[in-house]
Each structure stands twice: as structure tokens, then as C-alpha cells.
Symmetry: C2
Subunit: 467 residues, 2 copies
Amino acid sequence: MARADEMKLFMEPRSIAAIGVSRRTGPGSFNLLENLLGYGYEGRLFPVNPNASEILGVKTYPHVGALPEAVDLALISLPRSLVSAAVTDCVAKGIKAVIIITQGFADADDEEGKQLQRDIVLIAAGGGTRILGPNTFGVANARLKMSTSYIRISMEPVAVGTISQTGGTFVGLNDIKLAGKAVDVGDACDVNVVDCLEYFEQDDQTRVIVVHTEGMPDAREFLRVVRRVALKKPVLTLKTGRTPQSARAVQSHTGALAGSDRLWDTALRQAGVVRVGDIEELADAIRAFLTLPAPAGNGIGLTTYTGGFGIIASDACGKYGMDLVEFAEPTLRGLRALAPEWMGVGNPFDIWPGVSILGKPRTEVERQGLRHVLSDPGVDAALMVLGAYDPRLGEELVPMAREAALMFPAKPLVFFAYGPHFAEVRRSLETAGTTLVFPSPERAARALMHLRERAAYLACRARRDGA
Amino acid sequence: MARADEMKLFMEPRSIAAIGVSRRTGPGSFNLLENLLGYGYEGRLFPVNPNASEILGVKTYPHVGALPEAVDLALISLPRSLVSAAVTDCVAKGIKAVIIITQGFADADDEEGKQLQRDIVLIAAGGGTRILGPNTFGVANARLKMSTSYIRISMEPVAVGTISQTGGTFVGLNDIKLAGKAVDVGDACDVNVVDCLEYFEQDDQTRVIVVHTEGMPDAREFLRVVRRVALKKPVLTLKTGRTPQSARAVQSHTGALAGSDRLWDTALRQAGVVRVGDIEELADAIRAFLTLPAPAGNGIGLTTYTGGFGIIASDACGKYGMDLVEFAEPTLRGLRALAPEWMGVGNPFDIWPGVSILGKPRTEVERQGLRHVLSDPGVDAALMVLGAYDPRLGEELVPMAREAALMFPAKPLVFFAYGPHFAEVRRSLETAGTTLVFPSPERAARALMHLRERAAYLACRARRDGA
């Protein structure tokens, strides 16, 4: 079976056996069966527990051998001393995909855990069974309403495939639910990042791939595959264990070697991977790749509510390599009609004097100003600065954002909003579906930079591979 | 009159004349009188408008000469050609503080604006009247429920004094309302950053001073004064116009020269100023200085919900110079009692195996874990990583946060929370009043770094000045 097909058993199971599921339910019980029923998973469920005949109304089996079918996927959450026997049972039953949720193997401090892991690898490999874990939240697939995480998570069918070395990412980041489809490779005794990468490469429901890794034993194989995958879909990577102190912590977490951070940086860049430095940058970049077109160049046009914040935004653009375009004469002519005569019009364009002095309606100055800016031949992307002093600002600007996307489909439009009504303004403005609102100009400019860098990389690879 | 006393007329006026206030009211009218009445300002208000006998029920005067008293503060919002005559009237009336809200002076593109500004400076200086602006939102004082901003803002009596070159800061940042007390110096034709600094230096309602500047004509005077003020109160500075492209924009905004960014950095550091790089960092630092004690050293203790996020947090601490302490034996002994036997216990401390494997209540493992960590002699600050998978997490941890602040008053405690319920968890946990919750570990570590660096600076100055 091809790797991607083996992975389908994990990611798209039609039937799941939950081995070691407890009779205890409710808050604090971390009951996998209760979670799966709660999400509304529609596949067949087979709890395995020798001390119960049913749990939560579902018929329960005393041991794996008693199951009526070789399920697509078995979950093992048993004390670690019982795990290898359960894996043996699964192999005997003909189950080809097993998730070991239990902790205390390569991640343990003792030799016993490491030995148990080696035993399991041998049993499974001999039987042609793939193992995910141990020490894992397992998988999530929002489209199937299925997750094996023992913490009840919130899922949304975003087109993101996450490959992670921690279940923490299943919980999601602040601005995005990562559990569109997700795998926690845990101690990665068998299924590894490359297996998952090949699954998401061919998965039509995944447009953006996220890799969180602390390091891996076979980085060469990963880089070889990711270099291919990155041509098809953006692969965003959070490589952690960057400092000597955290590299030490990596060893006790999953037993991996973090490796030189500088070398990782170079290798990932050459393979076409978008490397992000932290989880906020990751969430922003995911949202950008899901929502915005890639700018054709580094030219940016700014509009602002105050000169001071225009300069703050201009600093941010400079920091991330976006150049403030000198507007062409037709652009300037259009903008001058929106401003008092004495005002020096340029980039950034301050919309406010046209409102407060000429008395023009604010949304009109914004809409026309944006249209002039995006019409400029040097402008590849627009950043609008908004003072979120009023919660209604966002919904007022939705038509403008939609119009801009229709008229200039290749030029991304982003906003930086500040002020007490940031959250409302963002929520309503992003319903346009064509734009993003950021809480700092740095984050807006950095997201544009990632879009731009990936586009430049793809163009460069196309030239080189074509030559 | 001392500078700080002159500034009191601007910041704490008992009476205000609003010259050029319009009869137009309601949304989009930017009516200063309507705003002041709306806030609930309790000083005496005198609108000046030759075409009305009352506006919004307030008796209106035809010209400045007709006012029944020399008010503490006059606001001028007239077309720029009428401003110098109004200033002349104010001087004749004996008004000692005037805010020129009108734009189009040094900030204009034409020679006329620059000449008008020179005229005004002469008139006012000759009459002993101080001018704030032109091109300014003026002032805000949340304790007086007073702001001269033509945009209606939200104020909160936070102990922050903001000196800014843009009214944008009056609107506030996302995590904090900056308009506790605030001044927008605008084109700074007379009242400048140093005047404001001396006011906030002596103001008992101000504990943290924020300076946003694009550059200033007399940086030497500023640095001389700020070096003194920084010994008494933290002065956080956002110096913008950092890149060549934004330095150009500075010139057309307020006519200031941005100056070499690297030299500013060195000079500010030597003067004891906390320099922040962007507005998110500014908001975080303000909140930290308002809420947390300064750590006595760089030692940090981490607790986490997953190994992976512990490493992410550890990377962040490394980036901002916070060292992960090797816990002392008594700390380790305490933590081992909260974890399965096989678990290698260290820093970061993973609280979750004690919950999911030993079945201990989560809040108990967190509370006891934190107490052990803070008891460690090498730990100067604690960072707890929380997966915000449940909105109630925050309120559950409030007693723990309060207890930690009572038992370890000199050791700051901060949280990094991720997940879909970040906002609720932050809101409720911060009601403890003794801790802050950040959306990334970088931002948590960076805030601690600022506290630490200021404490180290003060210790160093004390040693040097004492020697």
C-alpha cells in the first residue's frame, strides 16, 4: 500500500475501536468514546473494555479478538505495560492502523519506556500494521467530525492539514482552529512527518500544510519530499527547539535531536518551505495563504487615518521588505481630489483631512482612495490603517473590500486596525472573505511578505526547472 | 510659571472655550462641544460662534472678547486662515493655554502654512500664552472626563500618561486605552515633548509614561530631561520613522527629522528609556509595568500543558534573555509527587501527565506545581502555558494567581494561553489584578524582559550615582 493510502486509514476511518476506554464519563474523564459521540462522528464505534457490556449506550467488547470486524483504526489508551499486548492483538486481528495515545515510551525518563517502544515497533512492522505515536493526541478530521484527542477540541473544516509533534496544536491557535485535519506524530515510532506530508499532498480538502517539528531522525528524507510538496501547496513550518536551552527540553519531550537552527533555516528555505518564527506568525500566515492572492512584487500602497500611524505602518513595511511605492501622476491626481489643497499627497495617503476638513463621507474617501491606490501600476498590495474607534467601521467597509477584490483580484488588500473596537471591526470586515485585519502593521506586512516570498520562490523554481 | 504648572492648564482645565464650534451635531459632525458634554466633563464650557446664541443648550459667545472670563484653556478649530486672529484674541483676553486643532501649518505642503505657524508662535510668545499644536487632537484626561479630540474616544482612568505625535494613540491600542492622560503635540510649534514629560513627572495620577515621537528638533534637551524622569517612572518610547522610506513620510507629516535609528537606540537606552519596537510591544509593556513586579534576575520557571508548547515557550524565553532555571532538588522533589514515576521532571514542568495519568484535579496540579516552581531559589519569574480549550479555565485559576502574588510578591507570574477560548480566559484570569495573559510566549517573555532590563538599569544607575 502507498504511504498516502495507509494514512487514509488514520485520517478517514470508517470504523474505530477504542481499546481501554473507561466507563467514567463527564468533565475530567477524558473519555475518547464520549468525545467521538459528542462530535457526531458517523463511522462505526467499538469500545473495548473487559469490565463493561456497554458504555454510553454503545455495545462494548471484552477484548480485541472479540471485535466483529478488522476496524480501520484502533486507539489504545491503556497503562503502558499493557500496550504491547494490545498491539499484538490488533496485528492478529488484521487491523492496519493503530494509534497509541499512552505516554511513557521514548518520552519517558526510564529505560523501560524506551524498550517497550522498540518491542511495539517490531510487533507492528512484522504484521504490516502502522503505528501512530506513542504519546499522541492522534488525529483529527473536522470533515468527518472525528478526533482522537482525549481533550475535547473545537473543529472547523478549514482547508489546513497540520502535522505536529504536540497535541497542543489540536486545541488551535488564537486566530485559527488548526484541527481542519491534523496529526500529532508524538514519539513517531513509525508514522512520521513524511507519511503525513504525502497524505496531505494528495488530499483535495487540504490547501495549506502546517508542520510543527522539534527535529527528526531523517531530515534528509523530509527535505527531499517537502521540496516536491512545496511546489503544489504552501508548507508552513514551525521548527522549535531553537535555543540550546529548549533543545535540551526537546530531548526529554520526544527524544528528538533539534539540530542547528541556522542550518535548518537555510535548508527549509531552499526546499521552498515557509518558515515561521512563532505561533502568531504561523496563524497569520495560514490565514493569509487561505484568503489572499500573492502579490506580484514588493510594491505597497498605504492609506491611513492619521499621519503618525501611517509612519508606524511604513516602518513595519520597511521591516518586512515591502516598498512604499512613489505613486504615479494619475494616482496622485485622483488622491488630490480627496484632500485639502494645501495637503501634500503621497504614500501613505491620509484619508482623514478629506473627511474632517472637506466634509466628505469617510467611506467614500476610503473607497475612492483605495481604488486610486490599487490602480497604481507600481502597487502590488494595499494596506489600510483604521482607527477602530467605532464598532460599525468594519461592516461599513465590507462592500469596499469586496469591490477591491473584484476589480484587482491579483492585489491583496489587508488592514491594520487599532483601538477599542478592534475585535468587532475585524470580525465584520473579514466576513467579506477577501481580506484580513491585523492588530499590528508588522503582522500585516509580515503576512504579505510570506505570500510574496513564496510566489518569488515558485517563479525561481519554474525558471530553473524549465531551463 | 514652571513648565509643569503651565501644562496643568492644558491637562486639568476648570474652564474651556471652544472657538469655532459648529452648530452641526450628531454622527460625522466631529463636534467638540458635543463630545465634551457626552463624556460628562464638569468644568465650565464656553462655545464661541458668531452665528448661534446657544449650541446643545449651552450659551454661545460671538467672539473671544465677549467671554465672561479668561478661561483656563481655549480650543481653536477654525479654517487655518482665521487661526492667527483667534490666537491674537486669546492673548488679548489673557488666556494662557491654547490648543490649535486645525491642520495645514508646518504639516502642509505649501509655504503659506509654514508662515502662518511662524506668525502664531510670535503672537503667543509675546503674550505669554502657550500653544499646543497645530494639527493636534489636543489633550485627554480620563479622570476629568475631558478630551479635545474631534473623534469621540473611549477613556479609562489608567495611570498612563501618553505624549504623542499623533491623535491616533487617543483611540487606544487593542489591549489598552492610552487615553488615561494624553497629549498630542502635533506640529509642536510651542508645547513640546519635554513640557509634557515634566508634567507627567510630577503627576501623581501617572505611573507609566509613554512617548511616541517621530523625531524632535532638540533631542539633547529631551534626553537630558528623560534621563531624570526615567529614574522615577518607567518611560516607554515608540520612536518611529525608523526606515529611510518612513523617515521621508515623517517630514511630510510633522516636518520633523527622524534621525539615525541606531543612534536613537543607543541614546534612549543610556537615558534609561524602555524602547519598544511596535505598538503591540508598547501595549504589552504598559500592561506589564502597571501590573507586575520587576523580576530580580533572568531566571524563569515554566509550566506547560504539553511538551511541545513547553518547548515553544522555552524558545521564546531564550529569544528574550530569560534563562530556564535548572530546578533545585527540593523543587524537583515537589514536582515529582505531581507526575507519573517514569516522567523526567524538569523545567518546563508538564502538568498534564499528573492529570491524565494519575487522575489528579488539574487546578491542584497547577496550583501546587506553580508553588514549587516559585519556591525555587533560582526562579525570578514564572510563565504558565495554558491550552484555552475551555472558557472556564481562567476563572478557575484566579485563586491560584492571587495566592502566588501573596506568597511571592517579588516574582511576576504571566501566562501564555492558546486556543479558541483565549479571550474569555484572559479576561477572567486578569481580574486577579496580579497577572497578565499573553497570546504568545514571545510577548510574555518580552514583557518580562522589559521589566527586568529596567530594574537592572536602575540598580546600575544607583551604584554609579552612589559611588
